[in-house]
């Protein structure tokens, strides 16, 4: 995993300042993920999994070290360039789904296209296609409150992929779902990984699921990669 890859981190470190105390959330993380791979990330609470996701997703900037995606140093981008990276190169899904409660499923999926300057007609057309892919086209006019947890996460997946990114970052996407629904969601991600060559990095506590679907798994503890496991 340390050879040159599609997504690479070198000496990735994130330190948060809480008053006079510095908290090291991530320390000297070196990763290399090839294009089209499914990387599982696991570890106890507070081990730095979400921090790693936020850094890889361009939502946060590292204290030191670098992130390189497709040969471009993400860690050196300014705020405007980072927003373009988030818009076009990476999609993110979360444990709490993070879909907008006042929007319908279709509006939620179409939302990222607004910032890409896509016309309303085209936005709705492409959002409809994505909902069809995740099997929710018949629920397109429903608001999140009218959808089950699994359906909401599918809406989030559709939204994350509507701008056709090459990387999907999933921060515990099954954390709020029952076992059966969790499996369906991860299966959906695995299909996207296999069929469309989508690079997926997913945080999960469910090791059996990671063992079944991921290509590689890393274990984080206290902000450090303590174990790297190649599944297949």
């Amino acid at each position: 995993m340390n050879s040159d890859g599609f997504l690479e981190t070198k000496g990735l470190t994130k330190v948060y300042s809480l008053g006079k105390i510095n908290v090291v959330a991530l320390e000297d993380v070196n990763l290399s993920v090839e294009e089209g791979k499914f990387l599982g990330v696991t570890g106890p609470s507070g081990s730095g999994k979400s921090t790693l996701m936020n850094l890889l997703g361009g939502l946060d900037t590292p204290s030191s070290g670098s992130i390189k995606v497709e040969g471009k140093f993400i860690s050196e981008l300014d705020k405007e360039e980072l927003s373009l990276y988030r818009r076009y190169q990476v999609g993110m899904i979360f444990q709490t789904f993070n879909i907008i409660s006042s929007y319908t499923a279709l509006e939620n999926v179409a939302f990222p296209l607004l910032f890409a300057g896509v016309s309303k007609r085209e936005r709705h057309h492409r959002a409809g296609e994505m909902l069809e892919k995740v099997g929710l086209i018949n629920r397109k006019d429903h608001r999140p409150a009218e959808l089950s947890g699994g359906e909401q996460q599918r809406v989030a997946i559709a939204r994350a992929l509507v701008n056709k990114p090459k990387i999907l970052l999933a921060d515990e996407p099954t954390g709020n779902l029952d076992t059966s629904t969790s499996r369906q969601i991860v299966q959906t991600l695995a299909e996207l990984n296999k069929n469309q060559g989508l690079t997926i990095i997913m945080i999960s506590h469910e090791l059996s699921m990671l063992a079944e679907f991921a290509d590689d798994v890393i274990h984080l503890c206290d902000g450090k990669v303590v174990e790297q496991e190649k599944i297949r």
Binding site: N54, G57, L59, D60, K79, E80, E81, S83, L84, R86, R87, Y88, M92, F94, N98, I99, I100, S102, F111, P112, L114, F115, A116, G117, V118, S119, K120, R159, A160, N163
Partner: protein
């Protein structure tokens, strides 16, 4: 203001790195959509703007209405075409005639008024001379005298003006009944509606063609006998002769409500012919009371009507060169405009209180909106919105509030102004005033009100928009 415009420009024109920018129409649609989701709060905030803009529009339209009425009526009456000419330094006609420049006692005063001492006496010869100046359409002397008016067994003390027939037929004289006298020698007069009202006469048509008695007073110096001084001081044996004359009422005129220089501003108007034969006293100067009528040479003032305002300056210069004082209302236009500007500023200041309160309402609503949509801002950023995009979303929402506030504020201002106008006219028309539009809605006021509302709202939305843009997406996405 410049700082504000620069900030707006920066906000709207920030360079996008390569990719397609969000369409303005999408921002607007998105803003309407977001505001619709919080109907009550949007309504209350917008209503604040509506009140502010409504007040601004009503006050401004009132200010503009007053200005329009004044300037339009001046223009319609042709008042800007008149010049008043009078002896300089305020000296009376007696002084004009009697001052001896060689008299050492008069030397200092003579030097001080040297121009006017050489100035011509404002008599008929001078009038004729004026009428021949290029650009002079007509000229007439200002002759006004007090008289007792008797009609229908009622008496009123009033001022009589001598006005030529052609001036009576002009726009200056607004007749409510009858017509102007035909010629300068006609034995008829025009009476003001207000004087008739004071005599309890309301049917103005009925008085046309009726006889009216005008009694004048003239000073008789022969009656100023020192032996009678005590009785004069006690109000008996006053040194006046009273003469009565009978006229026919030709017309009833509308009373001029405005002050300042207006050639037609008495209660009774009569032609020069019969007025010349009447014995009367002048009101120009208190000293004239003690001059025998035959010693009063010249008129107190002359009014010149020019064919076009372009002749005003040259004629004024000619009069000044001859040591005469002049007054033209058009000169006062600048002062009138300054006064109106102060009125506008005052009205604006009052209306700005409402606008300021409305702006605070917008800031409060938008800040509340940020707190409520904190997580949503995080989502926006996670799916690729830049700080500038987030800023614009909130900025446009403020703008939409301003737009709606401006449109409905304009409508409210129009409705309120129309209602007030109707109520005011209802009462004023009853009192004899003509129907007047006291409010004016020029196109620039309508556009300006909406534009100003948007501008103020954008200004109010600036801080919340910047604050929204600075939200940390990592924190926002964890926010409950």
């Amino acid at each position: 203001m410049m700082l504000f415009i620069c900030a707006m420009g920066k906000l709207l024109n920030r360079k996008k790195s390569g990719k397609e920018p969000v369409r303005i129409s999408d921002y607007i649609e998105h803003s309407f959509s977001n505001l619709r989701k919080k109907k009550l709060r949007t309504f209350l905030t917008t209503f604040g703007v509506v009140i502010g803009i409504g007040a601004l529009v009503s006050m401004f339209s009132f200010g503009k209405g007053v200005q329009k009425n004044v300037t339009d009526s001046f223009k319609k009456m042709g008042l800007f075409n008149y010049i008043a000419v009078y002896p300089s330094s305020g000296r009376s006609r007696g002084e004009q005639a009697n001052m001896d420049p060689d008299d050492p006692q008069n030397q200092i005063q003579y030097e001080q008024v040297s121009d006017s001492a050489n100035s011509p006496i404002l008599d008929d010869n001078f009038l004729q001379e004026i009428r021949e100046i290029k650009g002079v359409e007509s000229a007439f002397a200002e002759i006004r005298f007090p008289a007792q008016i008797r009609f229908n067994e009622k008496e009123q003390f009033s001022l009589v003006s001598v006005i030529p027939a052609d001036v009576c037929r002009s726009e200056l004289m607004k007749l409510r009944a009858g017509k102007a006298y035909e010629g300068d020698d006609e034995n008829s007069l025009i009476i003001n509606d207000s004087l008739l009202r004071r005599m309890d006469i309301k049917d103005f048509e009925a008085v046309i063609g009726e006889q009216i008695e005008v009694s004048t007073l003239a000073m008789d110096p022969n009656l100023l006998n020192p032996m009678k001084l005590m009785s004069i001081m006690q109000g008996e044996n006053l040194p006046f002769n009273q003469e009565s004359y009978t006229f026919t009422i030709a017309g009833v005129a509308e009373r001029m409500g405005m002050g300042g220089f207006i050639p037609v501003r008495s209660d009774v108007y009569m032609p020069p012919g019969p007025a010349e034969d009447m014995k009367k006293i002048s009101l120009t100067n208190i000293k004239d009371f003690f001059q025998p009528a035959e010693k009063l040479k010249g008129y107190s003032a002359i009014t010149i009507k020019v064919s076009s305002v372009k002749y005003i300056d040259s004629i004024k210069k000619q009069m000044k060169d001859r040591g005469l004082g002049t007054f033209a209302l058009i000169d006062q236009l600048k002062e009138i405009k300054t006064a109106f500007m102060f009125m506008d500023m005052f009205l604006l200041a009052v209306a700005m209180i409402g606008i300021t309160v409305a702006s605070l309402g917008i800031i409060n609503t938008m800040v509340m909106s940020i707190l409520e949509r904190y997580r949503e801002i995080g989502i926006m950023k996670a799916v690729g919105a830049s700080e500038n995009d987030v800023k614009k979303i909130f900025f446009f929402e403020s703008g939409v509030i301003g737009f709606l506030g401006g449109i409905f504020g304009l409508a409210l201002g129009w409705v309120v102004s129309t209602v007030i106008n109707q109520i005011a006219n209802h009462f004023l028309v009853k009192q004899g005033a003509p129907y007047t539009d006291y409010f004016s809605f020029p196109w620039w006021l309508c556009l300006g009100a909406v534009g100003f509302s948007i501008l103020v709202s954008l200004g109010a939305g600036l801080y919340p928009a910047v604050r929204a843009a600075r939200v940390d997406p990592v924190v926002a996405l964890r926010h409950d």
